[in-house]
Symmetry: C3
Subunit: 139 residues, 3 copies
């Protein structure tokens, strides 16, 4: 059993920019030489999230639309009154989607479906450089 | 420390069918002979989710109703325009609920509450056969 | 590699009371003497959740407001008709936010952002004493 804790940076445009990070995680998994275990993908910060989706252009537009219903950008947020940064909705969305995801792997491969990719979504209202922690535990 | 990566299939009716998979995970945990560690339950695919609920008939009706408000079945989805499979809402719901859950165990028992079960929810708009990965890490 | 499975209690006021449990987890991590690995925080029960937020007073009011839109307290719930405890909304919110979160650590420190805290949120409609499982796997 071995643990490897890696990090990489992803540049985003903010505003629900959704970025496929599967290839980043796959590359690190190959380099780790691990065969069986799991990978925890964690985004540092409180205005982003990690999940899985079928990475296709339609959903990249549908997901921001639904999030706009759940936690609208222009709703009155107490967070914005205090901090003036206008990203109250970004914080609430990150709370809901959460910043961590654990994916099992076996025979050196993440056990994802064919149409299932691991994504970073940046809820902030401006471009950001995001630190992703990719931690592999296995053998 | 040991890792075991198991899989099982669950037949669902789709359309927010919610299935208690606690007994499946408990059985695999017993067979593993592990005493302390955690279990990651992961559903392969991009139109399902894993979470915990009190598994009782009322909530099996309440949860689909709330999801229908969050990501309505008959909203216009760009995903549906491209793919014509009518399950845009299923993809968005899976993105929100997510496909992975990690549950600790000790003394050979999952550390759940009495009224807390681990469930698979199938958001797709048709019956599906779902692959669940159950990965145990522990000693 | 070592596993430690600890527990602690948190008294809440219910009704979307949000409590910062980062210091509890940090203290247990220090005591564990582990340097690298991850911590799974899990709340026992089906009416609470674990996530990360920037722990500041504005968001402590914004998050309950958004949850009230997603799963309103006074909606008709089948759960309430059967059980008469009036906390159908609490169960649905726990299903969405989920009861588990895994956070990586390295050099003995949780890899959180400066403005990112780990929180327990209690969705129940009355004060509760909550059991939090904190499980550390690492070396």
């Amino acid at each position: 059993m071995k643990i490897l804790t890696e990090e990489f940076l992803i540049e985003t445009k903010g505003n629900c920019d959704i970025i496929d990070i599967t290839v980043n995680l796959r590359t690190l998994l190959k380099e780790s030489k691990l065969s069986q275990g799991n990978c925890t993908a964690f985004v540092v910060g409180s205005t982003a999230g990690i999940s899985t989706i079928e990475y296709e252009p339609g959903l990249l537009k549908d997901i921001p639309e639904v999030l706009e219903q759940i936690a609208p950008t222009y709703k009155k947020y107490f967070h914005n009154e205090t901090w003036g940064d206008g990203n109250g909705h970004s914080h609430v969305r990150s709370f809901i989607i959460k910043t961590s995801l654990t994916i099992p792997f076996k025979n050196g491969e993440l056990l994802l479906g064919t149409w299932q990719q691991i994504i970073l979504i940046d809820f902030d209202n401006r471009p950001r450089s995001r630190r992703i922690v990719a931690q592999f535990i296995g053998e």
